[in-house]
Amino acid sequence: MPLMPKRVKFRKSQKGRVRGNATRGNYVAFGEFGLQSLEPGKISAQTIEAGRIVGSQSIKGGGKLYIRIFPHKSVTSIPAETRMGKGKGEVEYWAAVVKPGTVLFELGGVSEEVARATFARVAYKLPVRCRFVSRRPTL
C-alpha cells in the first residue's frame, strides 16, 4: 500500500514551490550508503513504493533498506473534460517534497558494489537526478 499520512489537519494543500536546498535529512544517518537527490521535486507515494520494491528485490533480503522520505503533501487534480471553477479538485495522490541534498533511500548491511547496483536501479524509477553517497567521516 502506498504511503500516506494517517491523520491530517487539512485534506488539501496549496501547490507551493520547492525552493532552496535541504538543510535537514541531507546526510546518511541509518545505513552505510544512500541515494541523494540533486534536484528539487515532488516524489509520489507510488514512486516511493516502486523504489522500495526494486530496492528490496535487488538486495534480495541481504541488507536493510531505509526510506528517508514520506509523502506528507496531497496533490489534487480536476477530472478531464470538466469546466473550470466549482472549487478545488479531489486528492489524486500524496507526494514527498524533495530538495537538492535530500537523502531518499539508505542501505545498510551490504557491500558498496551491491549498494551502487541497487541504487542505480532505484534511481531509474525516480523523477529527480540522484547520486550515490556514503557516510560522512566522523572526527
Binding site: M1, K6, V8, K9, T23, L38, K64, G109, L139
Partner: protein
C-alpha cells in the same frame, strides 16, 4: 591513537564584515580557504581560516586533535568539535575547534568498526549496525582511533550492546549502556503492495465548545 595534525592557520579580524560574517566567509571559500573558530577554556573565541587541502588531509588521517600554528608563532592544541558541510555533503563550509590540554578529560565521538564476519549472516540473517559512532569520555591525549567490535560470535537474534564493548583503558561510553550497537536479525518478509482504493487520511477536526456550558 592517531598522530596530531599540524595545520597552519591565519587569524581573521573579529569585526563583522572585516573578518567574519557571511560575505567575508563566502569570499574566503572562493579563495580555497575554510573559515573556522577556536573556543573554550574560558578565553575569547578566535576566528581563523585554513586551506581546504589541509582540512581534507586532516580528515583523511582521521585525527581528532590538531595543532594549529598561528601567524604570530603561537600554537594551540585543539579538538575538532563540529564540521559543517554543504547541502550535498561535498564541501566543508566551517569548522569548530575546542581548546584542549593534553591531560584534560573530554567527550568526543569515535567510529565503531566491525571486525570479522557474523555467522548469523551465513545462517540467513541480516547484519544491522545501529550505531556507527559512539560518544566516549577519555583523556585528550588518548582518544582511540576507533572502537573495534568483534562480530565473529554473532548468530541470528544475538546483539552487542554498549556495555559489552571492549574499550581501551581510561575510555568510558557516555550515554545509555544498554544501547544496541549491532545485531543480526531475520530477513524481513516482502510485503506485497495492496491496492488501497478510496482510502484517505482521517481529518483532525477541532473540538467544538458549546456556548451553553
Amino acid at each position: 591513537m592517531s598522530e596530531v595534525a599540524k595545520i597552519r592557520v591565519e587569524l581573521r579580524d573579529p569585526a563583522k564584515n572585516k573578518g567574519t560574517g557571511t560575505k567575508f566567509s563566502r569570499k574566503l571559500r572562493k579563495q580555497g580557504r575554510i573559515p573556522a573558530i577556536i573556543y573554550g577554556h574560558k578565553q575569547t573565541p578566535t576566528p581563523i581560516s585554513m586551506t581546504r587541502d589541509s582540512v581534507w588531509e586532516m580528515i583523511k588521517k582521521k585525527t581528532h586533535l590538531a595543532e594549529l600554528e598561528m601567524d604570530g608563532g603561537a600554537n594551540e592544541t585543539v579538538l575538532v568539535r563540529d564540521i559543517q558541510w554543504d547541502h550535498l555533503g561535498k564541501e566543508i563550509i566551517h569548522l569548530d575547534f575546542a581548546r584542549v590540554s593534553a591531560g584534560e578529560s573530554i567527550e568526543t565521538e569515535v567510529p565503531v568498526e566491525l571486525r570479522g564476519t557474523a555467522p548469523g549472516v551465513a545462517e540467513g540473517g541480516v547484519l544491522e549496525q545501529l550505531v556507527h559512532a559512539i560518544e566516549v569520555t577519555c583523556r585528550a591525549d588518548a582518544i582511540p582511533d576507533n572502537i573495534k567490535v568483534d562480530i565473529s560470535e554473532l548468530h541470528i537474534g544475538k546483539a552487542i550492546h554498549a556495555k559489552e564493548l571492549k574499550l581501551p583503558d581510561g575510555v568510558t561510553v557516555k550515554g545509555d549502556p544498554e544501547a544496541l550497537i549491532v545485531h543480526v536479525t531475520t530477513k524481513a518478509l516482502e510485503t506485497a503492495a495492496e491496492p488501497a482504493e478510496g482510502t484517505q487520511p482521517e481529518v483532525i477536526k477541532p473540538e467544538r465548545k458549546d456556548k451553553d456550558e
